[in-house]
């Protein structure tokens, strides 16, 4: 059973700006997929369709073989809890500590304070931020901030991690850390979709690579390389 399936997807913004067209893709559970392409090729939009931040103009996206368009709007927040998201700009609450940022993902669930006090330190330990729980994002390096963001995505044990340029703002060492973390998570069975511009990473990964150009899929290779 496919984890995510795009069926005849196109996305057209007002004034006939075509962002995606004729997309048919299947992503299996446990896949580690790299999504590459020039800026504006449609990578982010494709990812947004998965976590329902955007709706396709035509076609249907299936999550666990269930059409996303069939989910009522008020149920979307619950659907999104299946998906962890990580972004280039980290998207952390600047006025919350590391602990509070990660805890927020559990608070919206209605988890008790005891459960939160139990689970957050564990996940911070996994991403290597044990000593930084009471720091604020601006007191951390870019790599550390991204690990906070990863911890927040991971803490709910999502089925899919969507990482949109997670290393775009990071130095090579931090980049390696984050990619290794994604590989670890993938090993535990979580599907990972990684959009990136980093040729070195993609080539070294040796995993499935989907190339987008002008809103179309131009390559889709297992064991692929970064070719634009």
């Amino acid at each position: 059973m496919a984890m995510i399936r795009f069926e005849n997807i196109s996305k057209v913004y007002p004034e006939e700006i075509i962002v995606l067209q004729d997309i048919d893709l299947v992503i299996e559970p446990g896949d580690f997929v790299s999504l590459v392409g020039h800026s504006g090729a449609g990578k982010s939009t494709l990812l947004k369709l998965i976590y329902a931040e955007e709706e396709p103009t035509t076609g249907e996206v299936y999550f666990n073989e269930r059409p996303i368009s069939a989910i009522q709007r008020k149920h979307l927040p619950f659907f999104r809890r299946n998906i962890g998201t990580v972004f280039q700009d980290f998207k952390l609450f600047s006025q919350k500590t590391v602990f509070e940022n990660v805890a927020y993902a559990l608070e919206v669930y209605g988890k008790t304070n005891e459960e939160i006090a139990d689970e957050v330190p564990q996940i911070l330990d996994i991403v290597g931020l044990s000593g930084k729980a009471n720091k604020y994002p601006k007191q951390l390096s870019g790599g550390e901030q991204q690990r906070v963001s990863m911890a927040r995505a991971l803490i709910r044990d999502p089925k899919v991690i969507i990482a949109d340029e997670p290393t775009g703002n990071l130095d090579p060492v931090a980049t390696k850390d984050i990619i290794n973390l994604l590989l670890e998570i993938n090993k535990l069975g979580t599907t990972v979709i990684l959009a990136t511009h980093n040729k070195a990473i993609v080539d070294k990964l040796g995993r499935r690579v989907i190339t987008l150009d002008n809103g179309r899929v131009t390559r889709d290779e297992q064991n692929g390389k970064y070719v634009l």
Binding site: E53, P77, R80, F93, Y104, V108, Y109, G110
Partner: protein, 303 residues
């Protein structure tokens, strides 16, 4: 679990309220101004009404009777008049009472007492002071008096003198109500718009946070409630400051109203209705803030 989440959104709202520094200050200042203008408009409206009530109370028709009319017949006329539904009350003032009032009014001025002594007898007439239920009815009453069976006994009707005053008061009364209502509506609308906009700007500066909340899977209610609570806190603060400002303003204005209100000054009125005023200003602040927060955040709830 619902209670826990609600408590969390409450805490979140309180944190936003305390953490946002200048945005909080700006929002509270704007809300305070709104509340102050609205409550001042209302209080001025109430004051005008009190003053008008007081003035209306002073209006009457004074019917003086010829010196040869006996007290008994005046009292029986009084009884007849009291049957009219337009008549609110009638007071009988005897010649002696009129004289003692007159002397008292002159503060026992020796010149007056001397003049009265020279006349040798009481020059004043007995009279009936008639009060109507409403200012428009004085005309009717006055006409009825001039055409009555006892019109020969009447020395003079002291109505024509008051007529212009009565009419003018009537006009002022209607005009102040209309102007007050229109001004009130305008001020209230402008204040609300400004407050909503300020809260919206406040929320707009934090729009990234709403995006994070959505991505992390917070439900719409969970995203919205902190803003509503935050608005409530703004409202409560603004209401408190408004009440203090009102007290200061009223204390400054009170001496001006000393002579024209029936019971004491505006300050006494404020003190007497402190609970009602505090409650309504607070309620207004809370509703304004909560509604502002509720509406402002709506934009960021799209999927």
């Amino acid at each position: 679990m619902k209670g826990l989440k609600l408590w969390r959104t409450f805490q979140e709202g309180f944190k936003n309220y305390t953490r946002n520094g200048w945005l909080t200050v700006a929002t509270v200042v704007v809300m305070t101004l709104s509340l102050f203008i609205v409550s001042m408009t209302m209080l001025l409206g109430i004051t005008t009404n009190l003053i008008l009530d007081n003035l209306r109370d002073k209006i009457n028709i004074s019917v003086s009777f010829n010196p040869d009319v006996t007290e008994v017949s005046i009292l029986s006329i009084k009884q007849d008049l009291e049957k009219y539904q337009e008549v609110a009350s009638i007071t009988y003032i005897s010649r002696d009472k009129a004289l003692s009032d007159f002397i008292a009014m002159g503060d026992n001025d020796p010149v007056i007492t001397q003049a009265l002594e020279e006349i040798g007898e009481n020059p004043l007439l007995a009279s009936l002071n008639i009060k109507a239920n409403s200012p428009e009815q004085y005309d009717v009453i006055s006409q009825a008096l001039t055409q009555s069976t006892f019109k020969e006994d009447i020395n003079r009707i002291n109505y024509a003198k008051n007529k212009t005053a009565i009419n003018r008061l009537d006009g002022i009364n209607k005009m102040t109500r209309q102007i007050g209502l229109i001004l009130g509506i305008i001020f209230v609308s402008i204040s609300f718009l400004i407050t909503f906009n300020t809260i919206r700007i406040n929320m707009h500066s934090r729009r990234n946070e709403f995006e994070i909340m959505r991505l992390v899977g917070a439900s719409n209610t969970y995203i919205r409630m902190p803003s509503v609570f935050e608005g409530v806190f703004y409202g409560l603060t603004a209401a408190f400051i408004t009440l203090v400002l009102l007290f200061i303003a009223i204390q400054a204005l009170a001496p001006l109203t000393a002579g024209i209100l029936t019971n004491g000054t505006l300050l006494d009125y404020y003190a007497g209705h402190l609970l009602e005023i505090s409650l309504s200003v607070t309620a207004l602040g809370v509703v304004l803030g909560a509604l502002g927060g509720f509406i402002a955040v709506r934009k960021y709830l799209k999927v």
